[in-house]
């Protein structure tokens, strides 16, 4: 699938009507989402034919994108039942099969090895401190190949340090810096729109059980440039 086509399909998804501030629910725009997944697939072979989990899937944008790029099995996980209903509708509208689980990411218990890739646009930890690191930590526990995530550029050093030191990452790399155009979602937002600087990350977990697999992933990097 072409990047433009992917972006177009994601642009038609239903978004939250009443986002919840405590969960930091911000929609992942189709422009960013399509480039995230396109890069994960075209530069790293992490999506097509793989098992992909979307942590904090919200209305399912990244899960749908994974499925459109022919992930073999996609699981979206969110704490909020209304989001999961939307995600289910979005998947059904595009005739995609995807599994959904209602769960708090910090209490998730998934057997490792089965999930290849975790994709997420997690809370940035603005509303509840440390929420971002909980997502990264769990992602690195679950993913066999890689974790793709978005975080505020202002937290870059902190995230790198904690991911490598405490979360079992063997590498933590910013693939690209983005402008995240945040429309006025909540009442406390004074400006109509703000651009915040956001990093697009790729984390690679230390290999468990099977020694060789994760080490070869870095060698497979064909190209590190962001497409489009």
């Amino acid at each position: 699938m072409k990047l433009k086509q992917l972006e177009g399909l994601l642009g038609e998804l239903q978004q939250f009507t009443r986002p919840k501030v405590e969960l930091e629910q911000y929609a992942t725009g189709s422009h960013i989402a399509s480039r995230m997944l396109y890069t994960a697939e075209n530069s790293f072979d992490d999506i097509t034919g793989k098992v992909v989990a979307d942590f904090g899937c919200g209305c399912g944008t990244l899960a749908v994108a994974s499925s459109l790029l022919d992930a073999e099995h996609v699981v979206g996980i969110d704490i909020d039942p209304q989001c999961l209903e939307l995600a289910q509708e979005n998947a059904a509208d595009l005739e995609l099969d995807m599994d959904l689980i209602q769960c708090d990411i910090k209490n998730l218990n998934l057997r490792g090895l089965l999930v290849d890739t975790v994709v997420m646009n997690p809370p940035f930890g603005t509303s509840r401190k440390g929420a971002d690191m909980e997502f990264i930590s769990m992602g690195l526990k679950v993913a066999r190949r890689a974790v793709y995530s978005l975080h505020k550029t202002s937290t870059r050093e902190h995230i790198k340090k904690v991911a490598l030191r405490n979360c079992n990452a063997i590498s933590a790399e910013v693939l690209c810096e983005l402008r995240y155009n945040l429309p006025q979602t909540y009442k406390f937002h004074r400006q109509k729109e703000v651009d915040i600087a956001v990093d697009f990350w790729r984390f690679v977990p230390r290999a468990r059980h099977e020694g060789s697999t994760a080490c070869s992933v870095t060698a497979n990097v064909k190209q590190r440039r962001m497409h489009g």
């Binding site: 098992v51 073999e72 099969d97 959904l100 689980i101 209602q102 209490n107 057997r111 089965l114």
Partner: protein, 133 residues
């Protein structure tokens, strides 16, 4: 929820040792066809907990669907396996990716805590005082 997801999901309730595998009680399920991918199934086979998968198919009332022992790579690669409805490749594909549990319950094997599956979505939420430390 399909059985591939069931095969990776565990309970995190306080008192759970591994919380795995979750016992499956099925009220309603459906089948939706999907394109079989032999390479994917071969790659997945060593990672699957076979006993948990077989137990899940038995809970569905499909004791004949899967053999007691995991198929070999050769069986999954057999010529024409993808086209042959009765081949072990097709049956494994059906078990993992074509059966959708719509309504039912997942039960933690250690604590008996029940997690309802409603409209295809298992609810694994725990109350604060149930969370494993």
């Amino acid at each position: 929820m399909r059985l591939l997801t069931h095969n990776m999901l565990a309970s995190n309730a306080r008192g759970a040792v591994t919380g795995y595998p979750l016992k499956l009680q099925v009220v309603k399920w459906s089948t939706k066809e999907a394109e079989p991918n032999a390479d994917f199934l071969r790659g997945m086979l060593p990672k699957i907990d076979w006993a948990a998968l077989v137990a899940a198919t038995q809970a569905l009332g499909l004791p004949e669907l899967l053999p007691g022992a995991p198929p070999t790579d050769a069986e999954l690669s057999a010529e024409g396996a993808a086209e042959d409805e009765g081949s072990v490749l097709r049956r494994l594909h059906r078990a993992l990716l074509e059966i959708h549990i719509e309504e039912g319950t997942l039960v933690c094997p250690d604590t008996e805590r029940c997690f309802p599956i409603s409209r295809g979505v298992p609810n694994m939420l725990l109350h604060e005082d149930e969370v494993r430390n």
